[in-house]
Symmetry: C2
Subunit: 258 residues, 2 copies
DNA sequence: CGCGTTGTTGAAGAGCTTCAAATCTGGTGG
DNA sequence: CCACCAGATTTGAAGCTCTTCAACAACGCG
């Protein structure tokens, strides 16, 4: 494992506050694994033994019931996932699947729990991380229950636009069928939702979306700070030496985070 | 404040593991307040200064957008709420409103955060509580995105039946329009959903629901341990001297918890 | 260049909401 | 004790949103 990888883990809000000693203890038995695209890392219902840290690639968290399935989150580096199951030493409630070739750092759940009981700074950081995840899900549920499909898409686009630098053009970060599942609709319906946003100045060509009448789009979308988190997850600030453009609430990698 | 009230707070998973000394510190400046039915305790977007503990009555957590509003959870004693906002010292994402006359114990958020940083046992308990809340929301989202309205209702009824003692008759704990909002539908649609469950042996008379063909209902509902939490929140075990009927996962007061 | 995957479009119908009106219910004052 | 009222619930009709299934177009990769 490269030293720079370990530094990226160290820079996560979850670990940045703890002492070097504690960090060494946490990562002592940990290891890095590479997975090809389309690998199922974890099936919902599986016992969770590790905390996962996505260092490179893309991971989708999904849930299934009867013959239906849906996407709960799409993660980009650097993000942790299934922390809640680790803390409770419980089965995972979501499946995790790579969408691209991915590098994942895996930390022992047992060590995480033991360290939390010994180090209050780390336990506090875990609480903050979980609280951020929780609030991400609250935002998701509100979006899902209060908005129509077109409204959810419009707000997703506005959020992406801000996160990608507030230009008049953005690039969709993953396949439209994944986006459709994330937004809680069918691919066909997403396609029609894009079509109906054309009358609000939105043009789609492949993965590129351009905005020509932002006021019209915002009038439809009515983004709200109580639903839409326009900040990127704090994790990404430190992921690629990017400058700190964002004065950020502790906003983590769950919900519409990416 | 009665001593038995303080004991009920003490018995919460969140506090039961800490020393008497730490508990005294946490509850030092805390106080009990009584609110009539229909009181708004907190508006979404408000700064949250206290951790709330519901000791008696009923509280609804809701979210609003444009002219729509929805219910995210209905809480019964003994439950904590808005812990995530307290941990992050952030604005609340949900409004809180009493549905009945309620007694609520309020603890200083500042003291909670300070104590977490000093006492790793308490910080660990907060993490467990938040992890349980998080998992409750994951269940809610999966139910919302993967099931139709009738399916959500059928599973809600099955969960309630188990929690109320697995008899062939249950009592709905609150108004149907609140239940409708919790399940993500209109009151009219809930009414029709009940009507369509009649063909599966479900009879409704006022707040009383009886089951005559449970197999038929379960065939439709297909409850899943990865969505439906059939255990009551651990909190309620200690709420009224009730016996410990449930070997329980740490399952807290959020989502379809009640 | 061909083929499989991904995305789009059309038609039909299921699921859900809205509005309006009728019915039921619990609580109140006489 | 009873009649009455306000709010809650149910029912009906209409229409909108979304899904499903099928067919077609576009894209990307070997």
């Amino acid at each position: 494992m490269r030293d720079t990888d370990l530094q990226r883990v160290r820079a996560l809000p979850l670990f940045s506050g703890v002492s070097s000693d504690v960090f060494r203890r946490l990562t002592g038995g940990a290891f890095l694994q590479r997975f090809p695209a389309g690998t199922t890392l974890l099936l919902e219902g599986d016992r969770v033994d590790f905390l996962y840290v996505l260092l490179d690639g893309t991971v989708e968290l999904q849930g299934a019931w009867k013959d239906r399935e849906t996407t709960l989150a799409v993660l980009r580096p650097v993000s942790t996932f299934i922390l809640a199951a680790v803390v409770l030493d419980a089965d995972g409630l979501m499946s995790a699947r790579t969408l691209q070739r991915s590098e994942i750092f895996m930390l022992s759940g047992e060590v995480i729990r033991r360290t939390m009981k010994e180090d209050s700074d780390f336990a506090f950081a875990v609480s903050q991380e979980l609280a951020g995840c929780y609030r991400g899900l609250v935002r998701s549920i509100k979006s899902q229950k209060l908005r129509t499909g077109v409204e959810r898409l419009a707000n997703y686009l506005i959020t992406q636009r801000i996160r990608q630098g507030a230009e008049d053009k953005i690039t969709l970060q993953y396949e439209k069928r994944v986006l459709a599942a994330l937004l809680g609709m069918t691919p066909e319906n997403l396609s029609r939702a894009f079509a109906s946003l054309a009358s609000h100045g939105v043009t789609v060509r492949g993965p590129t979306v351009t905005f020509s009448r932002l006021e019209a789009l915002e009038r439809l979308a009515r983004p709200s700070p109580l639903i839409d988190n326009h900040m990127p997850p704090q994790n990404r600030i430190t992921s690629k030496g990017e400058s700190e453009r964002w004065a950020s609430e502790v906003a983590r990698a769950v919900g519409y985070a990416h």
